[in-house]
Amino acid sequence: MILNLRRALVASVVFLVLCGLLYPLAGTGISQLFFARQANGSLTPYGSSLIGQVWTGPGWFHGRPDGSIITTGPGGVLVSGTNQPGPRSKALASQVAKTAQTLKREGVIPTNDLVTTSGSLLDPDISPRDAFAQMRALSAARSVPESQLRRLIDGQIHGKLLGFIGRQYVDVLSLNIALSRLK
């Protein structure tokens, strides 16, 4: 018993040092050396291309309505994935109806992704279809022909992995940065 206790204590220290310090620190070193951009959060001068932002008003492509329910923690840090509504929740139904109303007022045809919140509440992406649905409204607001917007979206589509795995998506931040550079 005493021997076991001593072994358990020593083993805990050994694993703490090797698995809890050495392993993550070595990983951090390699990451910072070879993949510094990704390891630091895929940051651009306008924010992280992996973290969704709230885009309001008719002049921008909108992402998913995550901003309506995401909360912040100590120091204002964004807290991902708060409690989610169940599949027969009245609150969810009215939230969806309200979001759709807002979109329609801006001239956007509501889509499945644009009226529902994501799992992370930080979803940076929309599907190409969601982007196309916003073309007419944007074209009016920015006086840019729809054909030009369509080309802009086409150029931003991330394809499927190996051509057949996962889904196509557009990262909203990159799309809006490209939009801001349109003549």
Binding site: C19, Y46, G47, P74, G86, V115
Partner: protein, 563 residues
């Protein structure tokens, strides 16, 4: 069609993992590989363990319990003191006692149930030195128990079942660290963060948005979170967070890592009992259950979400997108979440709580079958072996003959131990759920009205007693009531199954082997796999059907009704 295409990638890779990781693990636990002796030997020396000595089941179990108890204290202490320790760029205070207790139990038992949001609760030191450490060692402990039980089945007239300390050390250094490290590089290359610099403050001049984005040592925690079937993520959103699971590639890698060890252990089992077919029979059982549940849940999630449908504003041809990420969609999210609930992982790539009623039913009942398809690292194999013993016992009753499994006579003691190991989980779940719905502390945490609220409670205890750790996140679990009862459920669900397994291993190792005769019920045939599936489904169905009827089944049948 697309879905079949994704499985076309996953299945052959898993087949290779089964064959080669399985054989490698046999070598590791039989002590044939020595190339890491330069790490092992000094550790054995400071532990004063002779790597060539073996332990009786009582000593093996004693070492395991004492080690886990000390790990619990160390993990608890680091979290309580994190405010005074380094690597705390957000200046977070110590974790409260009830939450630290629940979390320490959760990570030591390989559950990784999380009543907290990582990015706003845990310092980097707690994430690394408290939580990630337990993700390694609790996984290694799980595999050690499975290997000890296999030794019991494969030896004859032996008083010992291996050495706990050697199995623990070998599992971590030969299996878990190398695979995790290589996979960690892939995660980071794809976009997972790995930094100690604290949150990033960003300001976007285009839309005026200010954000403080949590970061941390995430990319190298991901692989052990999956490979060890732990499931505890760095962030609250777990595998849905773009910094944990940035692309479809990391999602598929995660699924492969989750399934790797539980699947490969059936090959190890076949090798160690010197009959590959015995391992294949178990693998077939696991695969069939997994496949049915995967198909069912995925189908449910490609259907419209009833609450969204009732608003009549969008078509839901793409399925239920509530709580799901655009880059994954319903199919990949279902694949990940099913793999994670059918093992003891419990990580999520989308919110379980927002799955359709029958999707949630698939996740919940997958756990209720005892996590055997393929189950957690080690725990999946030892639990299905308990079911296998019950199966040969029932087979023996049918023909009126003393049952055998792998040449070992299964007598009263073995059947009692197996029954105990199988029934601990349902008893714990049902009693604690009944208590929770009867007292104020239990009811007040419910986040959704109607049958969904009941499902949240049932799911919480099912998840914890199975050491799964996934949540129907609508429940606010960070209360004294749920922290304490949940901690209890996790401890019972872990150790009250491990101890009967080790006792069984000792009892079986001590026995001789009876040669198979014409009356022997063979355990390497499709008939056996079929009977085993039947036993697993019947035990799960008989114990849980009434409870499940009150939750997801009522919810599914409430056509046109919102709560």
């Amino acid at each position: 069609m697309g879905y079949i295409a994704e499985l076309v990638v996953v299945v052959p890779i898993l087949a290779l993992v089964w064959r080669f990781l399985g054989a490698y693990m046999t070598g590791v636990y039989e002590g044939r590989y020595r190339f890491l002796r330069w790490i092992e030997s000094p550790i054995y020396r400071v532990l004063s363990v002779d790597p060539n000595s073996e332990q009786s089941w009582q000593r093996y179990a004693g070492s395991l319990i004492v080690f886990s108890a000390v790990a619990l204290v160390v993990t608890y202490t680091i979290m309580r003191l994190q405010g005074h320790l380094p690597l705390n760029p957000q200046h977070l205070g110590g974790v409260t006692p009830a939450l630290a207790w629940n979390t320490a139990v959760s990570f030591v038992t390989n559950t990784n149930w999380q009543n907290y949001a990582g990015e706003s609760t845990m310092s980097y030191l707690s994430q690394m030195a408290a939580l990630t450490v337990q993700q390694f060692v609790s996984a290694s402990v799980g595999v050690a128990v499975a290997v000890a039980l296999i030794r019991g089945l494969s030896r004859k007239d032996s008083k010992t079942i291996g050495n706990f300390w050697v199995d623990l050390v070998r599992g971590v250094f030969y299996i878990l660290i190398p695979i995790s490290f290589v996979s960690g590089i892939v995660f980071v290359a794809q976009g997972a963060v790995q930094t100690l610099s604290g949150p990033a403050k960003v300001h976007n001049s285009l839309n005026g948005v200010h954000q403080i984005i949590a970061r941390g040592p995430v990319g190298f925690m991901e692989p052990i979170k999956e490979l060890g079937t732990n499931g505890g993520g760095f962030f609250n959103a777990n595998g849905a967070h773009p910094f944990e699971n940035p692309t479809a590639l990391t999602l598929l890698l995660s699924v492969i890592l989750i399934l790797a060890i539980p699947v490969a252990l059936t090959y190890t089992f076949g090798q160690m009992v010197k009959s590959g077919r015995q391992g294949v029979a178990l693998l077939a059982t696991m695969t069939i259950i997994f496949g049915v549940w995967l198909g069912f849940t995925t189908y449910a999630e490609t259907q419209p979400n009833p609450a969204v449908a009732s608003a009549h504003v969008v078509s839901q041809r793409t399925g239920n997108m509530v709580g799901k990420e655009v880059r994954f969609g319903p199919r990949l999210t279902s694949l990940y979440n099913v793999a994670s609930t059918q093992t003891s992982t419990g990580s999520v790539a989308g919110a379980n709580d927002s799955f359709n009623p029958m999707g949630g039913f698939g996740l919940l009942t997958g756990m209720m079958l005892g996590e055997v398809s393929p189950g957690g690292v080690g725990s999946g194999l030892y639990t299905i072996l308990l079911f296998a013993i019950i199966t040969v016992f029932i087979g023996g009753l049918m023909v009126g003959r003393t049952p055998e499994y792998l040449g070992k006579k299964i007598q009263s003691r073995e059947v009692k131990l197996a029954a105990l190991g199988v029934l601990v989980m349902p008893i714990t779940v049902l009693i604690l759920t009944a208590v929770a719905v009867s007292v104020h502390g239990g009811q007040s945490a419910i986040g959704n009205k109607g049958p969904h609220g009941f499902t949240e409670i049932l799911y919480a205890f099912t998840s914890q007693a199975n050491n799964n750790g996934s949540a129907f996140a609508g429940l606010n679990g960070n209360s004294a009531f749920y922290n304490i009862t949940g901690g209890l459920a996790m401890l019972v669900g872990r150790f009250a199954v491990m101890l009967p397994c080790l006792c069984l291993s000792g009892a079986l190792a001590d026995k001789g082997v009876v040669p198979a005769g014409p009356g022997t019920f063979r355990s390497d045939t499709p008939l056996f796999s079929g009977l085993l599936i039947g036993v697993i489904l019947i035990v799960g169905g008989l114990t849980f059907f009434p409870a499940v009827s009150l939750g997801p089944i009522v919810e599914q049948l409430s056509h046109g009704k919102l709560f």
